[in-house]
Every structure is written in C-alpha cells, then in structure tokens.
Amino acid sequence: MPDTDDDTIEQLNQEAYKYGFTTAVDAVTLGRGLNEDVVRAISATRHEPEFLLQFRLRAYEIFLKMPEPDWAALNYPGIDYQDIQYYSAPKTAGERKEPTYDSLDEIDPEILRTFEKLGIPLEEQKALSGVAVDAVFDSVSVATTHQQKLFDAGVIFCSFSEALEQFPHLIERWLGSVVPTADNYFAALNSAVFSDGSFVYIPPHVRCPLELSTYFRINNTDSGQFERTLIIADVGSHVSYLEGCTAPQAKRTQLHAAVVELVALDDAEIKYSTVQNWYAGDKETGEGGVYNFVTKRGACRGKRSKISWTQVEAGSSITWKYPSCVLLGDDSVGEFYSVALTNGRMQADTGTKMIHIGKNTSSTIISKGISCDKSKNVYRGMVTIHPKAENARNYTVCDSMLVGKECSAHTYPYIDVRVNSAQLEHEATTSRMSEEQLLYLRSRGLEEEDAIAAVVNGYAKDVLEVLPLEFAAEAQKLLALKLEHSVG
C-alpha cells in the first residue's frame, strides 16, 4: 500500500505503462543504416529462397525512388532511416547461430519470462482458453503453440520464416498480391527489410478450431519492427485472428512499419482484431514513442466473402494506418470497427478504405475517436464505388469525443460513387465528455474510474461488442486506464 503522495504517483506512473520494461537478451543485430547490403544480409541471415531476395531488392529500389509522403495531418520530426537497426533477433541459449526453435525448451527463458510479464503465457494453460499464440519478439517469432492441433485440421499457422522454409511456393504465390511493393513508401520499406511475422492458411470449408493470436513486442529500443502478416482463407473457411502489441519505454522513437495482407476466397470469412498499445511517448513532451505506420489491406477475392477489421488503438506516439477492404467478389462484405484513443501528445491519422468493385457488395464503417489532453485524432475514410459495382451499399459512422480543452478531432471522409444503383449512408457526430457528465454519474454512487468507464463503454459499445471476448474485456480496461486523469 502506498504510504505517501509520492508513492501514489509512482504507483500510478508504473500502472500507466506497465509494459515499459526491457528484457536483457543477447540479440543478433545488423547495425544501423539501410543499403542494398543490409537487404541482402537480412535475406542471407534468414536463408531465404532466391525469389524473396529479388522481391526485397525490387522493393528497395522502389523505396529509394519514392518520396516520403507528407499529406497526413501529422507533425513529427523527420525519420532518419540510416539511424535504425533493421534486424534484431534474440540468440538461442548457448550457441551463436541462427535461432531455430523446435520446442519451447530451446527458447531463451528470459524471453519466455518477458511474455509471462506481459500476460502472454505460452505454456499449456493457454490451451485451456483455446487460443494458439504466435509471439514475435523483435523480428523473430519465438514460438507458435498448438501448431500440431492446427495442422491436424489442415490449418497452417506459423511464423513467416517457418512458412518460407516449409511452404515457399505458397508464400511466393500470395506475397505482395494484396499490398504490392510499390503501394506506398512504408510498404516498400517493409517489403525490403521485413524479417518475420505470421502466416496463416485455412483450407477449404474449415472453421479454424482456435482463435489465432499474435503478440508483437519491440524489445530492442534501437530497432524498428517490420513484420509481415499474410492470411489466406480458402473457399468456405473461417478464421478469427487477434493481434496485440507493446513496446518498452524509450527516449528514442521507434518505427513500426508492418504490412498485413488478407485474402478471402469464395464464402470465406476473416475476422482480424487488434489491440494496439505501443508506447506513446512522454505525456508532457511527446519524446520517444512508437511511430505506427502500418499498411493493412484485405482482398475479398471470392463471392460472398467477408473481411472484418476491428481495432482498439490506444498507444503509439503517431498512428498512421488505414485497414482497408477491396471488395472484388460479388456479394462480398467489408467491415471496419475502430476505437482510436489519443492522449498526451499522441497523434493519430487513421481510418479505412472500402473499395467496391464487384456487384451487390456492402461495407460498414464504425469509427469512434476519443481525444484527450493535447492529442490530435484524425479520421480519414474513403469509400469508392466503381462503375461495375452495381447495388453497392455502404454505411459509415464516424464519431469523435473530445475530453478536455486542448485536444482536437478532425474527419476527412471521401466518397467517390460511379454507379447510380449504389446506396450510401454517412453519419458523424462530435461530442465532449465533460465534468458535468461524470459528476452526474458519480452522484449516482459510481467511483470516478467507473464513471469514465461507463461513458467510454457506452460511446464505444458498437465497436467493443464486435471484439472477440478475449479482447473485449482487456480493451475496456485499457481504455478506462488510458483516460484516467485526462478528464478535467
């Protein structure tokens, strides 16, 4: 129990970002800076097939020619790409060789303790909750549990490196098919230097028996994290994928430029959920923190396919991402549910793109932004309906909540309709969480924390209720925790 005010403050500080610790682990790194040699070294270190080296080199060439985008409503000091370590992987206990993990016994116990601290038990207890976990530590997947159970169902869930080793031609077929290397600046960078991530393949007519989960942690404060996730849902299959992220506190900013590609074939469904809690930087000065520049896109290639993005963004100093759906197949469905909370000096320019190409496609966008302190929260959405997308439907809600007097919220909806039979609905609201609101709730006997939680949960209900149960409880607590001491 705290004895003094200082102890109370210290306890709260620790609670505010309890993941801000660093694990002292020997790591294999490739030094700072980016050039063609680094790209080749990453490929060689990972013993990659030739096609992937050529993929990386093409991406690097494109990256060099592209200008860095500056159209987002974000202010940040320029990134020195030569001051980042592009590869960092923990060494195995004992041997100085490229880590390969056939069993949990081979993994550095310190790494396992790190994940236990984060509440990610890789032991058998996890089996009781029916979740298979792929934990990515810096650039390397540390362990994938329950792989055998999934293999028996025909489901492939493994690290990207393992997929390259076991199923290289499957990777070759799909890699870059949804997010090409030239798609954008950060996708090109990721394509050149990505070193690991997750790969999922669900065979036809299979409902994945477990919820798949990946946990990303940047441990090396000098490195960036450039993971690549690829999920293929074959005809008639179904998968729910959960993603969580943290990083240690550091004075340096860290770059997270990931790429996620989803492919859904006929009658397939992919549900992709994210709870993002990267370190957001110093609350007062904004120093440090993670720059979360991610390209996420799903392609509904098949008829009656469905891709659903659900995200709770509560961290990172700067968030710049637009999980999107390309609705190619007739009768396909795209969904985007998001709660984006910014506090301190965080900035978020996030939203989605729904691109309707097939007939009778429909999309739903529910975006809830909460801005606190001196943060900036931007929703940027694009709904495009192509001339052949007859009978397309879209429903968009983008709401903003302002908490405090110095925060800001902006929305940039963009709608481009090229067919007469489309129907679109767009709603937007802006509101404030005020002291009066909380006073009313507290006068009914609620503590301040519970009052904040009640307001936020009610506001974000539409998003929280579509989160998988595992994440929903965690997301509610995370939001309430982040909002503490921001209301006033």
Binding site: D152, G154, I156, P168, H169, L170, R173, V235, L265, R301
Partner: protein
C-alpha cells in the same frame, strides 16, 4: 500460378467422392521429427514447386515401406481430395511402388460408382503435381535418417474425473486464478501466524500441474533471511496440504 477464381466451377464438377474428401479429408495433418523419432521411423517430407501440397511419410528404413502418411494441401481445390486419396492409398506400400503409382489410378479411386470422372472435363490435369511429388520423394529418400529416440519425460496428467476423490472434486474444477487466490490467502495467513507479522515479502509465482506451487520471497516488506526460507516453504506446504489438498507441493522460484 494456379487460378482459384475457377474454384466454384471445379467443385461443382467434382464427383461426389472427390467433394466428400474435399470437405472431410481423412489423412490431413503432418508429422514432426519427434513423431518419427518416437516411432523409430524416418520422416520424409517434400512439397511441390507449384504450391499444391506437402506430404509427410513415416518410412520404415529397414523395409522401405511407408508405414503412415499425412498431407497438407493448399493449392487448387482439387489438390485436397487428390492428396487425401493418394495418401490413403500409399500406406503399407513400398516407397518405390508409391512413387510409380499412376495418376490415373488415383483419379479412378475418386470417381463415383457411376464412373463419372472425378474432375469433369479437367481430366487428369489437376493431378499433375503428384508426379512432381513422387520425383521429389525419390530424390529425398536417401537423405532420410533415423533420429535418436527421444527420452520421454513423464508429464503430469490430470486424473480422470471418474477417479476424483472428495478433495479433488473441490480443488480441481477451480480456475487457475481461483486456485492461486486460495493458495495466497491460506499461505499468507499461515506465514503471518507463524512469524507474527503481516508484512512478509513473498508472493505466489505460479501454480503448475494443479498442485505444484512456486513461491518467491522478495518485494516490498520484510524479507525473510535466506537460511530460513526453506523452513517457511515447508510451513506453507504443510498449511496448504492440510487445508486444500495433500498432493500440493511448494517450491521456491530460483
């Protein structure tokens, strides 16, 4: 690159047999090196270059017979029933015979009783990847080795519910968190009573295999001297065994 945009047509043109195997394959799965080592067989695993399937064969290296087989398919829709049918057929046969099996025989096994072709007008084309797998398997066979048999470590196996006694019925159904809470309460009380103080710096680090409690001394509060800690562990163990379950053991986190 195999086009999957024709998939619905392909499934509709499949025979009932093929469609059944597509939806409910019998031999899907994989083998790990550990499985092969336990069974004292060699593990042969190859994948074709068109991204259709990967096969896993357990081979008796003395007789060169495929004792068991599994597959993972991830290519065209047809790759799933084809790989399933072939995998089922090859068990018990020599590697040589398996690698010379004709695609037509596999296709014939996928036809319905009426003789409807398994894949309609596509004929034997969907089976092209089989010949590549056969060639790769023959090439990989000389390098298949017998791995050392693993030393089996006895792992905890919870008793069947029918065998539970009264104490098991109270303790085992509890969730992990509830078990830990109970341990914390009881052990905390036992330590406080014994040492006559309430600020002992200790915590429960974990509870494994239902009965193995791991404690840690340290943190805020009074730190027991190191030479006294083993005795305190015994106190805790005794208290928990009396109050909760006699099978509980307590150890200190190293």
């Amino acid at each position: 690159m195999v086009s999957t945009m024709t998939a619905p047509i392909l499934e509709a043109s499949m025979s009932d047999q093929a469609r059944q195997r597509l939806r409910k394959p019998l031999r899907r799965g994989s083998f790990r090196p550990l499985d092969a080592a336990r069974a004292e067989f060699g593990l042969l695993t190859v994948a074709d270059t068109q991204g259709q399937a990967r096969i896993y064969w357990l081979i008796d290296l003395n007789t060169q017979v495929v004792e068991d087989a599994r597959f993972l398919a991830f290519g065209s829709l047809a790759s799933h029933p084809i790989a399933d049918c072939w995998t089922e057929q090859l068990r018990g046969q020599s590697v040589e015979a398996v690698c010379h099996m004709a695609a037509a025989d596999i296709e014939a096994a996928l036809r319905d009783k009426s003789g409807t072709p398994a894949f309609g007008e596509a004929g034997l084309e969907p089976l092209n990847f089989i010949s590549e797998l056969q060639a790769l398997a023959l090439a990989a066979l000389p390098s298949v080795k017998l791995l050392p048999k693993p030393v089996e470590v006895e792992r905890y196996q919870r008793k069947r519910e029918q065998d539970w006694d009264e104490q098991d019925r109270v303790w085992l159904p509890l969730s992990l968190m509830k078990k830990i809470m109970q341990v914390q309460d009881l052990a905390g009380k036992a330590l406080s009573e014994r040492l006559n103080r309430s600020d002992i710096a200790w915590s429960v680090e974990g509870l494994h295999d239902d009965f193995a409690v791991v404690v840690k001394f340290g943190g805020t509060g009074w730190m027991p001297p190191e030479d006294e800690q083993p005795t305190l562990v015994l106190f805790i163990q005794s208290a928990l065994q009396n109050a909760i379950h006699p099978a509980i053991t307590v150890s200190v986190k190293s």
